[in-house]
Symmetry: C2
């Protein structure tokens, strides 16, 4: 023996395993050179004082894994086919435990070699230093994220439905491309719901169940957008959509928004059959424009649809929070008055139920059903089946609409409180927009404090505040903030806005506002 | 009044709604022309015999939606800003019910205009006629899909854990890019499990939770592969990976597989520092090659790793069913002996638990953590939180490994039965490969019946059979089939194989096999 075999009968590891480990280390460190003859099992057993069967077991592993080679009649050798580089480097990680031994490997991890990676264009786009500036820690009171009130979610009902479906074990699978678009009863329930609630009349086949609206946007991007294409987005607009299109390599064409919604006149002046440039698609939020909260007027809707037919452009209608409208009748969704199969409708349950569920949907024109199902299959097969089953019952048994009605009343109170407290604290220095729908409102504060300073001061007071600066591709107005109030209780609203006011109280930093729309 | 208003007190619709609908239809059909003065609310109320407040409500909706314009002191007019095209076409869909009225719209859907769509290159790749040939209806006994036995899934435990987490309402959210990679306790549980079971030692930060291994492959594709890049895959190989890379526009370089796994010598002869061509990445299934079932030998593993370091190529190790090994010690995962940070490891719970859960993971080198988290955020924010919480407890409380041990015993019996029945029925006309691991085996049948005829005959006998033809980019051998047995009970195995044998029994269509490896 050219190397010591250290075995211990008090070790947690079985003897054959200890032998295996010792020999393997000796090979990998170069102490046992390639091509060297190793002792026979009988010799080895005698030399270290264990049963021959124990050594045979260890040798079998070493043979089966290619460390050893055996020649009939000639004995056993260290394999000659182990590459030199790795053996000499001696930096091989441990061969850890197999499942049966139930013990955990404790060898340190070998150091990684750092070298520049060849990422895709998509990967490179994500690597940019200032990609998205989300805070790492959430402040005590946050106006930052557009979340619903999760405490109000009817978790008891959801949990009962979960148990029911677990018992039923109805695991009929969705893992073929033709079924990737979702659990059929859920698609049907969504189609019926959309007809009732949003005047969107569609076949259940047109409904594609996805993991929230972000996956809907990603699917749309994959299926429709090539690098170099031009995609129209609202200015200001939703950052999750901007980033999805940008990462795909699209050029973004900002279409300005005013109090009537996205400016279709401006759109037509730049992209129409008479101009030389066209859009691959246009992303819009007609019900409650993000972030301004305005609603696209009916004349503009009709104008937009006829533009889409004329130019062959697909409209992506993101109807993310249209369920909550406090004043006036909801204007029907674009998809509800689309006679030209121009609209892909995006809906989500993240705002009406829970973002943690990751459930949303697309309604696509009939000629796009197959390609979207296949893309969904290729991206992640299908969305979680049990969650789809539960949601299906949740809708069919009326819980969804009951929950929406209940939450509309709750949010309506919070909305009014927001308005009252904002006006009370900031008086003429605040202007409120988009307060008639959704669970957020846009405010413009007339103040000498720069936006980033105000955000920082608010954070130090435990208040999360988001400026709309990143929602503009071009210049952003000063003092504009999006306040999400859906997840805040009434006392948190009062406390949060009071702290925000106090962030400007040390000097007389508020100035009266003139309307800037 | 230039048009009749038909209202009915017995209608399901409230009166104001009926007025609104009638007026709107009159405008959209052109009966009420643009710019026309409409009767005052008082006149209208009198003319149709309803309360004035009812008419006012209808007019308010028509004003707020832009059908009407009002000028102070001058009256109310049909808006002049409705685009002519859509009004004259008269094909506007109905404006359906709003949520409060809880009634469903019954107008027929307007016809879609069919025109060629400008899909992306990705979308076009998915549109090819023969994209994936999955049968629409599942046969009674199917050897087709690599599914586990879902009846054995410990649904009661899973359901109890679900209830627990529903009660706890721990909905701390994952919707920031820095948290998109998953629920931290789950990432930690996966890292510990991998160290125990697969000798993969990693930090929990390197674990990215995804919706099954298909999303893992999609993430890898997005972040690393550009159109025109060359990606190495095993020949034959996994079709879900092939399609993901192809749809992205990658060229596929098939690397042949023999009984020792993927042929690293062939790989090096074509793609190395001395050759002029390189791979962007190489996709491999070292533990249980798909579909041949062979295991990559240790010398080749070491050789492959040093090649990867030398050429700067990333290896994607898909370890889809390594938990089930019936003979010999599992060879450690590539990621477990990767000292060069070359390996991205892909794991899934679809084979050990349920595909319907859609849960899997990636282990990425440290320098790629951020870009993968961001990509996951942009693709669908994060995977379902409650499912992640349940899985986390399921692993931590030991259920996962108990379930794997139990299933290994069950599958081991089925495997032996498969071998015995195949040999009994087909005798010398069958050769079995890859039977020592996983929940499938490859068989080569020596028969004069063409593969597609055999698949068709089997289907007519209620047996789902999949030829490996689509798993080869180049020529496929005749008579090669992948038999998945994980989801089949013993009597189904016997019945299915007996029927398969009878599909060839009418003529003497079986010939003895010579080994073709």
């Amino acid at each position: 023996m050219d190397f010591p075999i250290n075995i211990s009968t008090t070790s947690d590891h079985p003897l054959h395993r200890q032998i295996y480990d010792e020999v393997r280390q000796a090979i990998l460190s170069g102490r046992l050179p390639k091509g060297k003859r190793v002792p026979s099992t009988r010799e080895m057993a005698k030399s270290i004082g264990v049963a021959r069967a124990t050594v045979t077991l260890a040798y079998d592993y070493l043979l089966s894994e290619g460390y050893f080679e055996a020649y009939r009649g000639s004995g056993t050798y260290v394999s000659r086919h182990l590459p030199d580089e790795l053996i000499e480097a001696g930096e091989i990680g441990t061969i850890g435990e197999v499942l049966e031994t139930d013990q955990s490997s404790t060898m340190p991890r070998p150091p990684s070699i750092q070298r520049p990676r060849q990422l895709s264009q998509y990967g490179k786009a994500l690597q940019s230093r200032n990609w998205l500036g989300f805070p790492d820690h959430e402040p005590e009171i946050q106006f930052t994220f557009g979340r619903p009130d999760m405490d109000e979610f009817p978790m008891r009902i959801w949990s009962q439905l979960l148990s029911r479906h677990c018992r039923q074990r109805n695991l009929s699978l969705l893992d073929c491309p033709s079924r990737a678009s979702g659990f059929e009863p859920l698609r049907s329930a969504i189609a019926d719901y959309l007809a009732r609630a949003r005047a969107v009349v569609c076949d259940k086949e047109q409904v594609i169940v996805v993991n929230g609206s972000q996956q809907a946007l990603d699917l749309v991007t994959r299926v429709l957008v090539d690098p170099g294409d031009t995609v129209g987005i609202e200015e200001p607009g939703y950052i999750g959509a901007q980033r999805a299109f940008q990462a795909q390599g699209a050029h973004l064409a900002p279409i300005f928004v005013d109090q009537g919604g996205v400016r279709v006149d401006y759109l037509k002046s730049r992209f129409d059959v008479s101009t030389n440039s066209s859009l691959k698609l246009l992303y819009v939020t007609p019900s409650h424009q993000y972030p301004t909260g305005v609603s696209l007027t009916l004349p503009r809707r009709l104008d937009l649809l006829s533009w889409a037919v004329r130019t062959g452009t697909i409209l992506i209608e993101d109807d993310y929070d249209s369920e909550y409208r406090y004043k006036g009748k909801p204007i029907p969704a674009l998809a509800g008055i689309d006679s030209g199969a121009s609209v892909i409708y995006v809906g989500t349950f993240s705002k009406v139920l829970l973002p943690a569920l990751r459930l949303g949907y697309l309604v696509v024109p009939k000629d796009l059903i197959d390609v979207f199902s296949r893309a969904k299959w290729l991206m992640d097969r299908h969305s979680s089946l049990i969650q789809q089953q539960v949601l299906s019952d949740f809708i069919l048994e009326g819980h969804l609409e009951r929950h929406i009605r209940r939450m509309r009343a709750i949010y309506s109170q919070r909305r009014q409180l927001m308005i009252d407290v904002l006006n009370g604290l900031f008086e003429k220095s605040v202007t409120i927009y988009g307060e008639n729908a959704g669970i957020n409102m846009l405010v413009r504060l007339k103040t000498e404090v720069p936006d980033d300073v105000l955000v920082e001061r608010a954070r130090n007071l435990g208040v999360g505040l988001v400026s709309t600066r990143n929602m503009y591709l071009g210049d952003a107005p000063r003092g504009e903030f999006l306040l999400n109030y859906g997840s805040l209780k009434e006392e948190q609203i009062i406390e949060g806005l009071t702290r925000l006011r106090s962030a400007m109280a040390d000097r007389d930093e508020l100035l009266p506002v003139e309307s800037r729309f």
